[in-house]
Amino acid sequence: MFYATLEGLRRFKIPHNFEFVSIISLYAKWIREGRLKVDPSWNKEGLKFTCQDPCKLVRQGIGDLVADDLRFVIKRVVGEENFIECWPNRSNNFCCGGGGGALQAGFVENRRKYGKVKFEQLSQTGADVVITPCHNCHTQILDICDYYGGKWKTTHLWNWIEKALVLEK
């Protein structure tokens, strides 16, 4: 949980001689540096993608910067024209309802009622795939997709990066 560690280090003033970063920022950095080569041409039939801005990473974490990195990576991986933006998004995005221990707290019926807004927002984009760069979002969106009969697939980002990877010989 990005925010848990980030805020934990800060709030409890835990001595550490490392920099705490998100994998999303690194994906973007490596693609920009050319260390990580990706090619969207695999997406011939134009699979439509959208993404979820995890609250703990974006709004409570490092904000719009990482949201922009996320989009940069997705667009380079699936092709710019195949990415559909949600609204609201980035730091103002709706919470999916999975975080904050909701998945574990066991109030399933409340959790799903909570997720209805997110479900409508995602289905309104008509995307085929929803990328959830956070485990809690992934579980929750998977659940509300199936509970409310959504049409999209819920995946992490790395699956698609893997698909778009270009390995030099």
Partner: protein, 1010 residues
């Protein structure tokens, strides 16, 4: 400062800058008016309509702008800015830079050919980028000065000389001058008035509003442009995405105000609630289909001004929905529609789809103005407004430099106009010794004697944008006018009241040798003086003029029957022409001014007004019905900014009683008044007679005592129930009983905003909260509950509301259907009220119950208004000449008003209005004679039988029987032209010049011609 400069610099050409300039120029001071943009008018010129009168903003503003534009003693410096300033009060040196207009104002006739030819289109900042304009442009159609100017950032030629330059080729008068360079010069002035206005808040950073991301989210100023006939879509509203007319519109209040999180503006911009209601009302009227559904999402509905509450009630009655809910994010609906999720008191989340969302953005200070203030050493407060104190509302920290308008605090137009006059008054209090030293005298061309000429009538038919032309076929009316006997010239104009059409009219009168003029446009009540002035400048007597009101009394009221409206317009023009044919040139009468002012009522308003006039060397008679000075001011403890009231009052009373120019009369009331402006004769209750040129009514008001009825709340029955003023008395006396309290309850709106008194008393929310803070200061851990309907701590007052909440004071909202219930049980008070958020009854046990009771007009205000012939509103407050632009004048010339008798207001606004009344009065007193009525009665001795009926019906004793001839004689100095004598006279011996029986019958018969 022995002999101060007789001139003043006004910085900022908005409505308050222009008003200050006009007041000063009319009182004998030369004014330099510096305006950053190419034309004056400021934000008000961007408005379509203004609340609460729904006047079309341009219509009430342009006469003032044209007057300022043509005023001999106002030096209009457009495209100019102040660089720096030094010197001391009475003699400031100000360095000013005038940026290049690239168009020679002398030559430019604003024909617009250059703009047609100019290829470069850029977003029009006047329309907030909604529409476009050319590189060479007019800021708005009725701009003053009506001269084109080139935007150097856009002009192709200026960026790369040699390219384009079409405008120069086509300009008929060769006015284009690409070599125009900025000019810098120094002005020597006695005083400076800062009227730099405000900048609308830019919501692009509030990303959740969707502004800049969702097309159909616009700001209120952009919506005002969509509504305005001179806006990008000619007044027929189109929504940005698909140019269709929006059916369902939502207004989101407090965008950029009362927000210390993202917008970092903790203050309330005090005008957004009212302009949102106005926009909703006007939108419903502008819509072709007429079935607009308007919803306003708000926290507190702040309609605290005069006539505002009635406006709000009427809007609600007409079906505008008011939803007490603030919105987190504007969501995207189908095809560019917008979804608003909101939660009302019931806590149930609801969604509603809208075609358009308008953000009611607040007001803030422009960064360029902030840097200017730093350069001039003017202190700003945390909100970047000028720091003013309660007792000197228009002064800044630098002596001799004053402020008015939205630059000191967000405020509405009447308040800005009052402060403008107040600032003018402060300037005059120092510079009065050098009055009329730097001003020029107005001279008119010699008047052509038209007596012998046959009538040569010119008819000018106005389109008034779409206001008239939208319904009436103005072309057909103009053609028809040409067929009328005596009419030698007829023309249709887009805006007859605009500067260039006025000049064009003067030109036409000279060229065509016209000796009668008819203007078919709007109401003569506002525009007749403007056109008459033009006749004088064209060299013919200004009374050879008639108007046909084809807008307010024709196109606006017969919108659904254009043919009948056009036919009626023809009738009205025919009537005006047949009436003007009989008009004769009339003399310009003048009446000597008695240099003394009578001020009625010695409360704060009366004393401040008297002091302001006395400091300018004008003797004042101040009469007070009680045996001591102070009035309402004695009753309260401190201003909301914490300044103790009684110390200020003591100082003020001492200065007034010891001032040699002020003759204070105690226990004296006004018995009778005769005469008119410049020559009033007032009979006082002590039998004495006072001759005075002007009068200021400042008779204050009373606080409502809820003795019985549903607003009683045990008042008068339980010793611990007070009104606000009674609690203030205990504060003043430092009553020990106020210590050791553990719970207090305030109830707001006691007797205000109810059917019997359908107005908001404006001062009680702020006063109650300030008292709660004082109680909390005395008993830090006591509980305080404020039971309110809408908290109306407008402007900077919002800070003490925030401070009160921060200190743990709990605010519980009630409404007329769930009034708090107060009862007593074994000696202790019990207050029950429903908390609407959690929908549960809350029981309170206060030791102290304070009722924020209404401020109501005095019962005897009726008699006084009869003496001065001033009107009253339904609620009993005195009615000023024009609620928006003449807030301290009465319709009767030479009589002004200030203080609570106008409308309830806090001390700082009372002081501003008192000084404003003094400034308006100084315009009369600073002159030796004022124009008197020219349209007076005249007797034909041959027909007069001496029956003296006229003398008995004349209200002004202006006509009497000459002892030796036995015939009636009229004193034109006193005659007001009411015509009572003419209607009474059986032998048609007395007539009213230009309004005689013959002319009225000509008009009547013309109306009925087939």
């Amino acid at each position: 400062m022995s002999n101060p400069k007789g001139s003043v610099l006004v910085v900022g050409g908005g409505i308050s800058g222009v008003q200050a300039a006009l007041d000063l120029a009319d009182s004998g001071f030369y004014v330099h008016l510096v305006e950053k943009s190419p034309a004056i008018g400021g934000a008000m010129s961007q408005l379509d309509k203004t609340f609460p009168t729904n006047d079309c903003s341009a219509c009430i503003l342009s006469p003032k702008l044209v007057e300022a534009g043509r005023h001999l003693n106002i030096n209009l410096l457009t495209l100019s800015e102040v660089l720096d300033l030094e010197g001391e009060p009475g003699s400031f040196k100000v360095r000013v830079r005038q940026n290049p207009r690239y168009v020679d104002p002398e030559k430019c006739i604003a024909c617009g050919t250059c703009a047609q030819k100019c290829p470069k289109k850029v977003p029009n900042e006047f329309d907030f980028g909604l529409g476009t304009r050319k590189a060479i442009y007019l800021r708005y159609p009725q701009a003053v000065p009506l001269k084109y100017s080139i935007d150097e950032r856009a002009c192709i030629y200026l960026k790369k000389p040699g390219r384009c330059g079409f405008c120069k080729k086509v300009c008929p008068t060769g006015a284009i001058n690409f070599d125009d360079r900025p000019k810098e010069f120094t002005l020597e002035v006695g005083s400076v008035i800062l009227a730099l206005g405000f900048r609308p808040f830019d919501p692009k950073d509030l990303e959740f509003t969707g502004y800049g991301r969702l097309k159909n989210v616009v700001t209120s100023m952009e919506f005002e442009r969509l509504l305005s006939p001179s806006g990008p879509c000619m007044g027929h509203m189109e929504r940005p995405s698909d140019k269709k007319e929006p059916k369902r519109i939502a207004w989101l209040q407090c965008v950029g105000s009362r927000d210390i999180n993202k917008a970092c503006h903790g203050y309330c911009s005090s005008v957004c609630c009212m302009y949102a209601i106005k926009q909703a009302v006007i939108a419903r009227e502008h819509s072709k289909s007429g079935d607009i559904e308007a919803s306003i999402f708000f926290m507190d509905m702040r309609t605290h001004g005069k006539g505002f509450e009635a406006y709000y009630n009427r809007a609600e009655k007409e079906g505008i929905r008011f939803l007490r809910a603030r919105v987190h994010t504007v969501l995207k609906g189908r095809d560019e529609n917008l979804i608003v999720r909101y939660v009302e008191d019931d806590g149930i989340p609801k969604e509603k789809e809208f075609d358009l969302v308008v953000l009611s953005i607040g007001l803030e200070t422009d960064p360029s103005v902030i840097s200017l203030s730093k350069r001039l050493g003017i202190e700003l407060d945390a909100d970047n407004f000028i720091k003013t104190s309660s007792f000197s509302p228009v002064s800044t920290n630098r002596d001799g430099i004053f402020v008015c308008g939205a630059f000191s605090e967000p405020k509405d137009i009447p308040q800005s106009v009052m402060e403008a006059s107040a600032a003018a008054s402060c300037a005059q209090e120092r510079l009065w010794p050098s009055r009329w030293t730097e001003t020029k005298k107005k001279s008119f061309p010699p008047e052509r004697d038209v007596y012998a000429e046959p009538p040569r009538i010119g008819v000018f038919v106005c389109s008034c944008g779409i206001n008239i032309a939208g319904v009436i076929d103005v072309k057909e009316v103009t053609e028809y006018a040409k067929t009328l006997p005596g009419v030698v010239f007829a023309q249709n104009n887009l805006f007859t009241c605009s500067q260039d059409t006025i000049n064009q009219m003067a030109q036409t009168i000279k060229e065509k040798g016209l000796n009668r003029v008819v203007v078919a446009s709007c109401t003569p009540r506002t525009h007749e003086p403007l056109f008459q002035e033009t006749l004088r400048e064209a060299g013919i007597n200004k009374f050879l003029f008639e108007m046909a009101n084809i807008r307010d009394q024709d196109s606006w009221v017969h919108q659904d029957d254009p043919e009948a409206a056009t036919q009626k317009a023809k009738d009205l023009v025919r009537m005006a022409v047949s009436k003007v044919r009989g008009d004769e040139p009339l003399p310009y009468n003048f009446v000597p001014v008695k240099k003394r002012a009578l001020v009625i009522g010695a409360g704060v308003a009366g004393m401040v007004a008297s002091l302001s006039l006395a400091d300018q060397g004008f003797p004042v008679t101040l009469i007070e019905r009680k045996d001591r000075l102070g009035g309402h001011g004695r009753k309260f403890y401190r201003t909301w900014q914490g300044n103790p009231m009684q110390d200020y009052l003591k100082g003020l009373i001492e200065t007034v009683t010891s001032h040699e120019n002020i003759d204070v009369r105690f226990k004296t009331t006004l018995k009778a008044v005769s005469g008119s402006v410049g020559q009033f004769k007032s009979e006082l209750s002590d039998g004495s007679l006072v001759e005075h040129g002007v009068a200021i009514v400042a008779i204050g008001a009373e606080s409502f005592k809820p003795r019985e009825g549903k607003w009683n709340f045990l008042y008068g029955k339980n010793p611990n129930v007070h009104t606000l003023l009674e609690l203030d008395q205990r504060f003043i006396k430092k009553d020990p009983g106020l210590l050791g309290l553990n719970q207090a309850v305030f109830i707001h709106c006691v007797g205000s905003r109810v059917p019997e008194r359908p107005y908001c008393s404006r001062v009680c929310c702020t006063h109650a909260i300030d008292q709660a803070l004082k109680l909390k200061e005395l008993n830090p851990d006591m509980d305080i509950f404020m039971l309110y309907r809408d908290i109306r701590t407008y402007g900077k007052r919002e800070h003490i509301y925030e401070e009160a909440r921060a200190k743990g004071i709990v605010f519980i909202r009630y409404d007329l259907d769930n009034l708090p219930k107060v009862r007593e049980k074994d000696g202790r008070m019990i207050v029950e009220v429903r908390d609407p958020i959690i929908d549960e009854e809350v029981i309170l046990h206060p030791d102290l119950l304070i009722l924020a009771s209404a401020v109501r007009p005095r019962d005897d205000v009726g008699e006084l208004s009869k003496l001065f012939k001033c009107a009253m509103t339904e609620e009993g407050f005195l009615l000023e000449a024009h609620m928006k632009l003449r807030p301290v004048d009465f319709a009767t010339d030479g009589v002004f008003l200030a203080g609570l008798c106008h409308y309830p207001k806090p001390v700082e606004e009372t002081i501003a209005q008192a000084k404003a009344a003094a400034s308006r009065a100084a315009i009369v007193l600073s002159r030796d004679e004022v124009p008197a009525e020219s349209i007076t009665a005249a007797v034909n001795p041959m027909k007069c039988t001496g029956c003296a009926l006229c003398t008995q019906v004349c209200p002004y004793h202006a006509v009497n029987i000459d002892e030796n001839t036995g015939k009636a004689v009229v004193d034109t100095a006193l005659c007001k032209g009411c015509g009572a004598c003419v209607a009474g006279c059986r032998s048609d011996a007395i007539t009213l010049k230009n309004l005689g029986n013959e002319q009225i019958m000509a008009a009547v018969e013309a109306a009925l011609e087939e």
